[in-house]
Symmetry: C2
Subunit: 501 residues, 2 copies
């Protein structure tokens, strides 16, 4: 048994080394690679990903999993080896169902779609991408059909990122959230908007970066096992247990962009840094799901980083760094500026309150497209219509409408967006659990101390990696299933006060 387990791990680590190498190549491509390297780099990454897939779906792994079944069955559910065999089995079954030819076809098509989108978006040219999206939709349906027996055609696609979630569950959660959210948005946007002029001054890049690094060092992001670099579209990336990096971007004329991007990505990264090192390079060695991952980034970005208590400690320091810009701006004015709610066009720029409406629109469209209730050619009009209904404004063009997100142009239609809102919901639910267990956290935050919160998250969430499914983890951490109540409570309390609702 031990020899078989050893052999299984060896094979899993080998597959992981290949996909991790692809991740290093991606990091390099998006940070330092000279433009001349682009063509070869795409091919190099595709080679690595193909070989990683081949190694992971090697029938030898299936045989080892079979042979280790009795061993797994003899272990308690939460034993590391039991979890490793359970999660590996799940991922293996998933990957072997998709023929390698199809994976290659999809990879090729999405790479091509991405290129077309990158040119079509600035040109506001939906017609250009339409045939690509039609093929993406077709391929997304084919991909789902490799997993027969689903309740909704989106379910297998949702499963890839949020294992265990179904379209029906998400639809129900989103329906309930929407019911609560829309009146809040309406009440807020009926009021005089908050003034965020103080954020729109000249803030030199170097100081912005320096301040952000200081904050996440205090959070507990470990720079011996990570680093931050600049890129176009910020992300967190795990290259090993001891090497979890983040990227950011800075706008010199808007303070919130770089700062909150850094806090957000540090949340993802502290999660990955906190996963048990024993899981490194194995299927357990990463976050539990897209939604749980996003909950950790949103927790640090919003529940901590946009809280009043946080800025009671950090605002005087920020004023020291940007004396000319902020010496006459009060803490209250700054706090309101970073929490301004507005009807805006772009998801990634949206505030905490309206953000979920952006996500729901996309999620609903994904379901409608997959079900055949909507055609790709209907997207631009449907987008405008829905936007008018939800936000009371209409995008002036497709560039800042249906063309704004990369997701459908670099992957499948279906499963791409629900994790963002699940993450928002869970961020509040987990944070409430943390505060219930450690009521001193808010006071510590007011003093720039994050050790208790970080420790609680590491103990209850981070260390487990992918050992538990999202719903198992939620149950363990909060004592109940996913619930929107803490999130609604949080929004009502915070924005009720900000907007005197």
């Amino acid at each position: 048994m031990e020899a078989k387990l050893h052999e299984l791990k060896r094979r899993l680590i080998e597959a992981n080394d290949l996909s991790t190498a692809a991740a290093v190549l991606y990091w390099d491509q998006s940070t330092y690679m000279p433009s001349g390297g682009a063509a070869a780099r795409g091919r190099q990454m595709a080679t690595l990903e193909r070989l990683a897939h081949e190694k992971f779906t090697d029938p030898a792994i299936g045989r080892l999993l079979d042979a280790l079944e009795p061993y797994a069955a003899s272990l308690p559910y939460d034993a590391d080896d039991a979890a490793l065999l359970r999660v590996t089995r799940r991922l293996y079954e998933r990957e072997v169902r998709v023929p390698a030819d199809f994976t290659a076809l999809l990879a090729h098509h999405t790479a091509e779609s991405y290129q077309v989108w990158a040119e079509a978006r600035p040109a506001n040219d939906f017609a250009r991408v339409q045939p690509y999206l039609e093929k993406t939709l077709d391929l997304s349906r084919q991909l789902a059909d490799f997993f027969p027996g689903y309740e909704h055609i989106a379910d297998p696609l949702i499963d890839f990122s949020d294992y265990g979630m179904k379209a029906s569950t998400v639809r129900q959660i989103f329906g309930e959230l929407r019911e609560q959210l829309v009146p809040i948005v309406q009440a807020i946007t009926a009021q005089e908007p908050l003034d965020d002029a103080c954020l729109h001054q000249h803030y030199p890049e170097a100081q912005q970066l320096g301040f952000g690094l200081e904050v996440i060092k205090r959070f507990g992001y470990d720079f011996e096992r990570g680093r931050q670099d600049k890129t176009h579209h910020p992300y967190e990336i795990r290259l090993a247990s001891g090497d979890v990096r983040i990227t950011t971007r800075v706008k010199e004329d808007f303070l919130a962009e770089g700062l909150f991007s850094t806090l957000h990505e540090s949340g993802h990264a502290m999660y990955e840094q906190g996963v048990s090192p024993a899981y490194d390079a194995l299927p357990l060695g990463r976050g539990a799901s897209s939604g749980v991952h996003e909950s950790q980034s949103r927790l640090w970005e919003n529940l901590v980083g946009r809280s009043y208590g946080f800025w009671e400690h950090f605002y005087p320091q920020l004023q020291m760094v940007f004396q000319a810009q902020l010496k006459d701006v009060s803490l209250d004015t700054f706090y309101r500026a970073i929490n301004k709610v507005e009807r805006s066009l772009i998801r990634t720029d949206a505030d905490e309150v309206t953000y979920n409406l952006h996500v729901m629109l996309r999620f609903d469209f994904e379901l409608a497209l997959l079900e055949g209730r909507m055609e790709i050619r209907d997207l631009p009009d449907a987008w405008r219509e829905r936007f008018r209904a939800d936000f009371g404004i209409v995008p002036p063009d497709d560039r800042d409408g249906v063309l704004q997100d990369v997701h459908w142009f670099g992957g499948t239609i279906g499963g791409a967006f629900q994790g963002y809102t699940l993450g928002n919901i869970l961020s509040a639910q987990f944070y409430a659990a943390a505060l219930a267990a450690q009521p001193e956290i808010p006071d510590q935050i007011r003093h720039g101390e994050f050790g208790t919160l970080h420790g609680w998250l590491r103990e209850n969430i981070y260390q487990h990696g992918r050992k538990f499914t999202a719903s198992e983890l939620i149950e363990r951490v909060t004592g109940g299933p996913l619930s929107i109540e803490p999130y609604i409570h949080y929004l009502r309390a915070k924005y009720g006060e900000l907007y005197r609702l």
Copy 2:
């Protein structure tokens, strides 16, 4: 035939993508990787290199080469496809002769030796590395024995880096060179040393880097297809035809260190950037041999970068950058400072004249060890003795004696050093050929123009990559075999004037 050639190229590119990925991981490791990533990175690189070897030695490649023999035979010698098949055959035959187990053993041993050396060198502890070196010597002999029929046991090892060269040839060349060189070194070191105090002032890093980048941009190093970063031990690395990077290091208290390192690596990099893009990711897509590669770095570093004409143009610019340090230093003083010849302990710090004596010492020791005329345990004493004979000084310890170079601790004993001196010799031989063809080059250099020289090198050397062997290339470019005459002529002329010999 065409399908078979296509299939061969596909397989070669796949193997190349894996080894290139390992190169990206190496670059990252030596520039930006946080220290926490070290353990996993070593394993990831080993996985990639092992798989690259497996792919390249796949028997399918041997069958394709066999099947394509008639096609290769039907082509003129210098047709691209003929060269591709010829060079691939040579590399394939070489790699398949070495059992995978042995390769893994050697890789494991050299990784371990490197670690031990990295600790033993600062501790001046030769006894610690002795057993590792003994095993390295044993493995080096075993490696050579996979290629029976050699004339000298070092020949197969030399072949890896300088294909076609034999121990007897190198010994003869080095013997002739030594005969000419020793009297020059003696004549120079009998004189009052040149004064290089002007280089030992405080030179801030940022300005040093900025100036170096300006110079190599003028040389024609293409920053759209490359970049420079800082590291501990500078190197050039090819990640694709469109992505050839260099690294450098800077000492703020010694101007020559960073500047000439940058010029040196840019020479390697311009060579790689100039290889025909049609060869990219194939066995032809890199420099011809270790010696030819070194000739290109030394040409730009020394024959151009340490020439008087070069500084006629650049010294006023350097004075502008470092006004406080250099305003009272004349061009002549500066020129003499960067060409100071001295008996020094460290190969990598040595001047153009004495450098080769360092190399010859190591080369002779490699042969003696492989032949069994010398034991590993004799190395420290032998080093001191030879050093006294060649340089008239004795290293005060092993740290700056036998322990100074990494080569024997990260690879084999045999074949590691001859390329440096072959490169010096060839740099002068190639440069003489360039000047004969384009006599306007020195005058252009005096005006900071390098287009003619760069173009001539690209046309005659760079573009061919590994299409021709070193000796074929030398013959094509210079009309004769390798010759030490141009190099001796160059040293006599330059240092004769500097030291009034």
